[in-house]
């Protein structure tokens, strides 16, 4: 959190982000380009799943990032409620839709993948269901932070939700696992993670890192926009 402390002041953050953003954007594009190339052309097609396995290179990192994103929201929520960092609210506002988008991408790619693999877009599998619930938690956060006249109130309400939600996430995950193992659906043929070859693992990790770059870049960019929006709001109201 040390760097957040340093950046707690929006003006200082702006100076920092303006220096970092262009380079970060460039690096993101570069990494993503290389990653996608590896995913589509270098990595071998799976002997069982054919070309569809390539969906994994987006699907799995999205899942990781959306889970990490919610943890970020909780950290930001705590620093807003406890230390009153003005930037934490803006950053949470910026990060929530990005995290939600990654969750949506995970769900979408997953169900697109499910069609060839399971013959259906959706099954009530534990992992799928808990990802869906995470997506809802994101939606709740976004809706709550925008539901108020006073943006500060929305920020604080959403921060409380993020903290409670992050405590609940393991409970939700656990309960959904339990729920599903009680009566396992017979029709589902899940991909039992086979010992992953390096030929797949390397592109996967590469894509994970480049999507992480994308995540950070988007969050910083959106934070800048939020700062500007807040400034306009202030200017608008003090005129």
């Amino acid at each position: 959190m040390a760097d957040l402390h340093f950046l707690a002041n929006p003006a200082r953050f702006r100076r920092f982000s303006q220096r970092v953003l262009p380079g970060l954007g460039f690096a993101t594009v570069l990494m993503l380009g290389v990653g996608l190339y590896m995913a589509f052309f270098v990595a071998p097609a799976d002997y069982q799943q054919g070309q569809t396995v390539r969906i994994m290179f987006v699907h799995v990192p999205s899942a990781w990032l959306s889970m990490g994103g919610y943890a970020l929201l909780a950290v930001l929520g705590a620093s807003l409620l406890v230390w009153r960092h003005p930037l934490a609210a803006l950053m949470a506002r910026a990060a929530a839709p990005v995290g939600a988008s990654f969750a949506a991408v995970c769900l979408l790619t997953g169900s697109l993948w499910g069609r060839p693999m399971w013959g259906t877009y959706w099954v009530w599998d534990a992992r799928l269901t808990s990802m869906l619930l995470l997506f809802f938690l994101y939606l709740g956060h976004i809706a709550l932070s925008r539901a108020y006249d006073d943006s500060g109130r929305g920020d604080r309400a959403a921060a409380i939700l993020a903290l409670v939600g992050v405590i609940n996430l393991p409970i939700i995950k656990f309960s959904v696992d339990w729920w599903n193992t009680l009566h396992q659906p017979a029709s589902v043929t899940r991909l039992d993670a086979p010992a992953i070859h390096n030929s797949i693992l390397v592109p996967l990790l590469w894509m994970a890192v480049s999507l992480l770059f994308l995540f950070v870049w988007l969050v910083l960019l959106r934070t800048e926009t939020e700062i500007d929006r807040r400034r306009l709001e202030v200017a608008d109201q003090t005129q």
């Binding site: 943006s151 500060g152 709001e233 202030v234 109201q237 003090t238």
Partner: protein
């Protein structure tokens, strides 16, 4: 002069993202009344809410007998009696029940209920559910709640709203009595309160 009981230093507040007031300082001793005046939107309501701790100020301190009230909010709240824009009454409870519950919630025992009712001529209405009262009758009930609280500091937002002339007189004498007993009062108002006191005019 001894330092005042209540001391406000450099208080600053914003609503939404609009600064409402900035570097507001004043002190108030026992038996003193402060009337808040100023144009509509000058921040009287905001100041009262900040004093009560309902709005967190951006900057500044509020001291009671020299101690920052933020340090022990429970005790500070115990020192306050609050009358807001809204009356804070439950329509389904009777006048007497409303007063009694409100005082119990403050941790008191509502022993002086009858005299508070009499002070605002609420005797005949005591058993009526508040939802059947007129605007001024409700306001009188809310004022009786303030009197009942027996708190050293009254915070009142437009206490005269909707009151008829006899009720205004009743309020005045209750306020006078509170001040004579060494109490403090801060009241936002557009009309003259009719009680001797200092005035703080907020700039718009």
């Amino acid at each position: 002069m001894a330092s005042p009981l209540l001391e406000v230093t450099d208080l600053a507040c914003r609503r939404g993202s609009r600064p409402v007031f900035d570097r507001l300082s004043f002190g108030l001793g026992g038996g003193e009344l402060l009337a808040l005046t100023g144009r509509n939107g000058s921040g009287k309501t905001t100041l009262l809410r900040a004093l009560a701790g309902l709005v967190r100020p951006d900057a500044g301190t509020i001291r009671w007998q020299g101690e920052d009230v933020a340090g022990d909010p429970d005790t500070w709240r115990g020192r306050l009696a609050w009358l807001g824009h809204l009356d804070g009454l439950k329509g389904d409870l009777t006048v007497a029940e409303n007063l009694e519950t409100a005082e119990r919630l403050r941790g008191g025992d509502a022993a002086r209920l009858d005299s508070a009712l009499v002070a605002f001529d609420l005797g005949p209405l005591a058993a009526r559910p508040v939802r059947t009262l007129s605007a001024g009758q409700r306001r009188r009930t809310a004022l009786a709640r303030v009197v009942l609280a027996a708190a050293p500091l009254w915070l009142l937002d437009e206490p005269l709203n909707a009151l008829d002339a006899p009720a205004q007189a009743a309020f005045r004498s209750a306020l006078q009595k509170h001040l004579e007993g060494g109490g403090l009062a801060i009241a936002a108002t557009h009309a003259a309160l009719g009680v001797v006191g200092r005035t703080l005019e907020l700039a718009a």
